[in-house]
Each structure stands twice: as structure tokens, then as C-alpha cells.
Amino acid sequence: MLTFSLTKALPGDPALSLVGERASPEVIESIRRELQTDKNFFVQYLGYIKLLLKGEFGRSYYTNRKVLDDLLDKFPHTLILALGAMLIAVPVGIGLGFLSAVKRGTALDRGISSLSVVGLSLPVFWSGLLIMLFLSLKLKLLPPSGMGDWRFLVMPAITLSLPALATLTRVSRTTLMDLLGMPYVRTARAKGIKEYKVRGIHIFKNALIPLVTVVGLDFGSYLNGAVLTETIFGWDGIGRFAMEGIIKRDYPVIMGCIILGTVVYVLINLCVDILYHYLDPRVRLYGEND
């Protein structure tokens, strides 16, 4: 499945528009030969697969650096950003969802629900720019862009967390509301267990499974959002690398970023599946009961 995903990510024809329009035909020809893009699609494809099997992603057309090296350099930056965003999204999202479910039907609930729809509808690149405008340029609290200590991390992390936060709020609200109506919750209350214990132990434990799924899936939205967020805030991670690749039509770079993103995404989903087993012993890892 993984390898198949990888092969699907390959470009149709990377031979186009590399050297700029003004280069002479001879130069274009020679560069094409050098990059081997003069051969037909199938040969290129095989070549790329061979490279991948050797554990390489080829070299950037522009800097001639190995794409893999750059990816490894920049990946930790993206990871830090994604973790920072998760640190905001997970507690705040689940907290808001919990609050919303417990106070169901009140003004607070409606307010949180409307806010979460708004959060889902904001384009990341725009909310990022607005946050930058207010926090950094008007109030001068934080540095506008670049990398450095934690203060540089705050704005991109907030920006990146917004859509995930909104999804998480919505999902935890529905999950918790379903659980609040379960017979075992009524039993627990009837037994006289204190309300905070019912909520904290009985409900929260059972809510974990759907929440873990969402947190895992949200990682995909971080990867999506990273391209936009990193570009805006000048964060030197995979997302901006991909964006630069797109602007320059640097195919090995773009492919490297997409493949890395996909591998990470698939791995996280795998981890989520394995985690299920520990959260819910009814889930069998090897599908014995399927």
C-alpha cells in the first residue's frame, strides 16, 4: 500500500518549463539530456523508482543539492511547528467541545459551535496574515516572521492550529453528547458517583478513541496547512520548501516534499490504528474477528 502510494505520487511529465523561456534550444536540449527528461515518460519513471529504492530523491534542479538532505534538514522545523499547533489545538479543542456538550443548548454551546464553523471556514493564509497584522505589526508583541526562539513559533502555531481546533471541537462535542446519553453513564450516576468523576473517568475514557482518530487525521491538515503557514511566516520547513519548489518548477523538490508528507501521514495513521488496540482491547490488531 505504501509503495503503491509512492508510485502514484510521481509526476506525469517533468520535462516542461525548466530553464525559462529565453534559453536557446541547444541549451534546453543539453539540460534536458543532463536531467534525462528527454527520455520518454516510462524511462523517467523507472529511473525515479530506482532512485527511490536506493533511498534517494534526486537533486534539486537549481541548487544541485540532494533533495533528501534538504528534507532531513527542514523536517524537524515542520515537526516542531506541527507539535506546537497540536499543543494548542488538542487541549483547547477538546476543552471547548467538552464544555459545549455539557452546557448543551445554552448560549455558550451555540457560541462555541458557531465559532467552530467560522474556524473551519477561514482560509489559513488569510487568518495567518491577520494574526500577523495584529499581534506583530500593530501590537508589536511578537516578531513577524523568521525562525528563532519560541516567540517566533507562537503565531504560526496558532494559525496552523485553527482548522484542526475547529474540527476537534465539533467532533468532541458530538462524541461527548452521544456518550452522555449512554446507559452506563446513567448507571454510574445512579450509583452516586460524583458528577466530575463520571465526566472525567467514564465519559472521557470512552471518548478517547474517536478523538485520537481525529487528532491523527488532523495531522494531514497540519501538513496541508504547513505549506501555506510556513510561506507566510517565513518558517524554514518542508512546506516552504515545497512552495519554493512549486514556484521554480523544481520537480525533484516538489516530489520529495509530497512523498515525505504522504509517508508521514500514512505512518501516523498506522500509529493511530495501533493505538486503538491499547485504548480499546476489543479492537484486534490482526483482524482475527473480521
Binding site: M1, P11, D13, S121, L129, L137, V227, L228, N269
Partner: protein, 264 residues
């Protein structure tokens, strides 16, 4: 609530359709006498760095952004509907392999996949449509397939078979109408997201090419002016946010009304 959202949406869509009639200026006309003007009576939303009227550009941009999103949704729905119907009805190995493909597409982070496609094809609005649909059909197909599988054994299908209906007839006359409400709700739920994806791809320079205005590319082109002329960035982004919000709320409202549970 639905009425308010619907009327807001109708206003947005009408404004985009009627853009040539109601927009005060030509959206692509460069006016060097009126560079970067803040909002005024003459230019309600100000002008950009080439002196173009932002309100006019947003109205025209809406035509592109909304129609691309709707076309992408129709394409995704069409492909998803066909594939889902076939996959669910035929079953067996074909079903398994189609669902494998669906899982595969859903396994990709969607924007990355769309970027991959937009890179391979020349940038432009049709590429954006194809890129969104390429990612989007999978979730439609899975939904439809699930529905078809559950109603394949229903008595009315058995009856249709018993009176000698052809497979085509069963698919088109008996199963298709069953799926339509589901598909329409799903489309409503997805449109808000598609508006955002279109905006993101345009923001990355993979969508509508200049001088054609589109909301995403307006934000992208003007983001360096965020301090000196924030209106150039704020208003196009607001257009994206409001439109996407309306579609999302409409989708939610319709889903709640019909009690359908579709993962958004």
C-alpha cells in the same frame, strides 16, 4: 437560520453573476493615478498597487472562485456517483480494487495531492477543478457505495430484477434516485471546503493566472502590503471566509434537518 444563510449565499452568487453590470470599474484596468488608495466613496474597498478597484476585482474574482468550486463539486459528485454505483452494485473484485483506489486517495493529505496535480498540469482554473475533483471523488464514491451495498438486497431491487429489469435500468432508475439526496447534502457540506482549496491553490499561484482576478491570488499578490495597505489583503480574504462560511453553515443546517450522519 437557513433562510438567512440562503439569502446571503444568493446575494453573493448574484453579485458574482452580475459583476459586469454592478461593478463600478473594470477589474483589470490599471490606473496609475490611483495607486493603493484606502477605502473611499469612489473606491469602497480601496485600490491595489496597480490602481485597480478592489471591489470590482472581488466581484469578478467571485465568478471564478465560486464557479471553480461548484464545477469541482459537480465533477467530484459525477465521478463519485458513477464509480460508487458501479462498485457497490457489481461487487466482487471490481469493488475491492475500486475501494482500494479510494482508500489510496483518501490516504493522501488532500492539498498536497492537489498541489501535485496542479504542478503536473499547466496552472489555470481548469487544472484547479481537475485537481480538486481528483481528490474529491473518492469520498463521494465511498458514501454512495456504502448506500448501494446496503440497498442492493432490498425487496424493491429484488422485485425489479424479478420483472426483468436490465442492470442499467436498475442502476439508473432504481438506485440512482435513492442516492441523490445523500449526494446533494454531501455536496453542500463539501462546497465550503472546495472554496478554501481553490483559494489555497490560487494563493500558491497554481490557479487563475494574472491578470484574471481570483480571491486567493489577490491575497497572495498583496500580502507584502499588509502593513501599508491592509485593505488589499483583508477584503479578498473576507470574501473567501464569508462564502466558505455560508456554504459550511448551509451544509450543516441541511444535514441536521434531514438527520443524515455524514462525516464532514
Amino acid at each position: 437560520m437557513i433562510k438567512i444563510i440562503l439569502s446571503a449565499l444568493i446575494v453573493i452568487i448574484l453579485a458574482s453573476i452580475l459583476a459586469p453590470l454592478i461593478s463600478p470599474f473594470n477589474p483589470e484596468e490599471i490606473n496609475l493615478d490611483e495607486l493603493r488608495q484606502s477605502p473611499s466613496l469612489r473606491h469602497p474597498l480601496g485600490t491595489d498597487n496597480k490602481g485597480r478597484d478592489i471591489l470590482s476585482r472581488i466581484l469578478y474574482g467571485g465568478r471564478i472562485s465560486i464557479s471553480v468550486a461548484i464545477m469541482a463539486a459537480v465533477l467530484s459528485m459525477g465521478i463519485g456517483l458513477m464509480v460508487g454505483l458501479l462498485s457497490g452494485y457489481v461487487g466482487g473484485k471490481i469493488d475491492t480494487s475500486i475501494m482500494l483506489m479510494v482508500d489510496l486517495i483518501l490516504a493522501f493529505p488532500s492539498l498536497l495531492l492537489a498541489i501535485g496535480i496542479s504542478v503536473v498540469l499547466p496552472p489555470g482554473i481548469y487544472t484547479v477543478m481537475i485537481a480538486i475533483a481528483f481528490v474529491g471523488w473518492a469520498s463521494f464514491a465511498r458514501l454512495i457505495r456504502g448506500h448501494v451495498v446496503s440497498s442492493r438486497e432490498a425487496p424493491f431491487i429484488e422485485a425489479a430484477k424479478a420483472i426483468g429489469c436490465s442492470h442499467t435500468r436498475i442502476l439508473l432508475v432504481h438506485l440512482l434516485p435513492q442516492c441523490l439526496p445523500l449526494v446533494v447534502v454531501m455536496m453542500g457540506l463539501r462546497l465550503g471546503g472546495y472554496i478554501l482549496t481553490e483559494a489555497s491553490l490560487s494563493f500558491l499561484g497554481l490557479g487563475a493566472q494574472p491578470p484574471m482576478p481570483s480571491w486567493g491570488s489577490m491575497v497572495s499578490a498583496h500580502r507584502v502590503f499588509i502593513i501599508s495597505a491592509p485593505w488589499m489583503v483583508v477584503f479578498p480574504g473576507l470574501a473567501i471566509a464569508v462564502t466558505s462560511l455560508c456554504f459550511n453553515m448551509l451544509g450543516d443546517a441541511v444535514r441536521d434537518k434531514y438527520g443524515l450522519r455524514i462525516a464532514g
